[in-house]
Symmetry: C2
Subunit: 402 residues, 2 copies
Amino acid sequence: MQSDYSRYFSHNALGVKKSQIRELLKLTAKPDIISFAGGLPDPGMFPVDWIREAAGAVLEKHAASALQYGKTEGVDPLRDQLLKYLGRQGIPVNREQLMVITASQQGLDLVTRLFIDPGDVILCGAPTYIGALQAFNSQRPRVMGIDLEDDGIDTVRLAARIRELAAQNTRPKFIYLVPDFQNPAGVTLSESKRREIVDLAEEHDLLIIEDTPYRQLRFEGEAPPPLISLNNRRVLSLFTCSKILLPGFRLGWIAGPPQLIEKLVTLKQSVDLCSPTFNQFILAELFEKGRIEKQIERIRQAYREKRDLMLEMLQAHMPREKGVSWTRPEGGLFLWVSLPERVNTGELFQQAIEKKVAYVVGEAFYPGGEKKNSMRLNFSFPTTEDIREGIQRLGRLIRESL
Amino acid sequence: MQSDYSRYFSHNALGVKKSQIRELLKLTAKPDIISFAGGLPDPGMFPVDWIREAAGAVLEKHAASALQYGKTEGVDPLRDQLLKYLGRQGIPVNREQLMVITASQQGLDLVTRLFIDPGDVILCGAPTYIGALQAFNSQRPRVMGIDLEDDGIDTVRLAARIRELAAQNTRPKFIYLVPDFQNPAGVTLSESKRREIVDLAEEHDLLIIEDTPYRQLRFEGEAPPPLISLNNRRVLSLFTCSKILLPGFRLGWIAGPPQLIEKLVTLKQSVDLCSPTFNQFILAELFEKGRIEKQIERIRQAYREKRDLMLEMLQAHMPREKGVSWTRPEGGLFLWVSLPERVNTGELFQQAIEKKVAYVVGEAFYPGGEKKNSMRLNFSFPTTEDIREGIQRLGRLIRESL
């Protein structure tokens, strides 16, 4: 038998390539490398005692349900808590507008399967979240990136692109946005742009996927309204517990129009039947005890301090040259460094590894790989010591490269 | 805006229908109905104390890893335990041949996405597991059911079908089998048929998906070898912790050729990044403490007693008429009742609900809905009291209908 199995593969599977970025990330995992490359929460912040207490309470009170299969749309105690939690954030939804998912990556996969045929158009920011691009690419769409500005996606270009497509009788299947502290760039979509985009969606009969993993991690300033609060007929919002609590539970939720939620539940049945019930009950217990909002407050404070430190170190150690700049995110996990166009951060990466510091090569976040002079830095995971030392190493590397 | 969103849906999503069977199952959930319809483990068997102990140990020893993101292929401590566990069952695999999944339903979804384009042929038993049909149908294949016999799928018909297809230049993408205590029929594929099927696969260059949720729940008799132990180049085997421990963790694993596992890991990245790490660490801890094999022994004993009771009650209360028969499974969770062809169990279902007893209508398990005179009965979930009373009600109903 041939050891090459590709003759059995579907066209979609043939199109799926191993993520180069994940291969690069493996290089950053060596213990002596200071890595700003991951997107991990700070494990020192995990509220281990609260988890232990909640897990114990669940096994005491709800073992028969919490260890059994659950409803595909999520177990009732969690959904009830989520409705209240969303309500407190100005997102008034009812049960028919909400489903639990196996973290927001599953949400990206489900919306891709719900909407995308090969060749369909998806609009998104450029750069944008790699995991979304991976989910989208599993159905071979045309992903069109629209440049980001300091206040989010360039809505003039977005509108122009939609009109161009309309002239070719093409309606994008959806606009994908990470409005708050965007991954990778850290920028936040302004309120006026949010309203423009919702109007564009109405005008051109489009849907919007709003991905909100970092929204609750705001360090300062006022939060613009969630897109779903501006239009609940055209917006599906994805949420995750990975950044506000911990990723190891693999839990998230989607809010949106009941007709879409119903169809997504049907799709989810064939994908994994239901999300982990044990974890859902633990999360419900943590909400009920008021732990989640306390935890969010703790994380905000810790990450704000790390962001401040990283900004301070960048200010002190990055070369003062035209074309060298970085974003100042008001929240989230990431900031984005741009270098003069002659610098290729992909080529620089090997030298960075030799100098024992790592970042994510910015190119990976562009649907078409179009820009090569940027990098993403994560400030949530590294210790303050590592931020100090790592940014010094990075500054030296970049100074030498210029 | 139109409230019908179907204009946005992909062709695959348009083809996915709400499961009628799940709608029927909702009817069976009323508290006064004795239901043999579900496929749930007995919650009374969940080893709550062991779970509490293991969760505590994980939070004590591994919190930083167990609450964080994990590798897509599964966390090392669990994969190490699974390799040993599979080795003890005569399935010698290495790390490259094994990945953790979010329970075996995800395995069915991943293999469907890996192999199936619309119109591709899948061969399987008729009847077969509904969840597999749902996963397959999400990519719109042609699913061809081959009749089951008391010792599993009819290999003469299977071979004939493969030859017919070959004459049309069509190679099935895979053969899907539940070799042990098949869901829904409870029958086990004999060793000689296993060898025939593996030979057929070699002859016609086919792959086999072996789904083994019940294999460890053997009450008596000797287990035929797993298909993967007969051929490790053409067989992908799916495993789940749902039936040997509990479903609420949503954990399973796949063993198979390294080239296929590698590709499945890449697909899984875009689907959910990784399976719940907290749960993986707890499962690893339970394996390490020897709890899993003890738990399997406890479940075997409990389910054997329930199966014996159900068989005894069927013997006492079912009409003695030609065409009335049922299977005598040597393990698993289900048995299968066949009635004379003039009886339509779908039509009988409403009367059953009125008589406060429920089953799954057999038709749902046929890829083409071809047989209408059978039903699936589950004996793992109901109490012994309910089995006594429920089978009496069912016998009365069937006697009246004949």
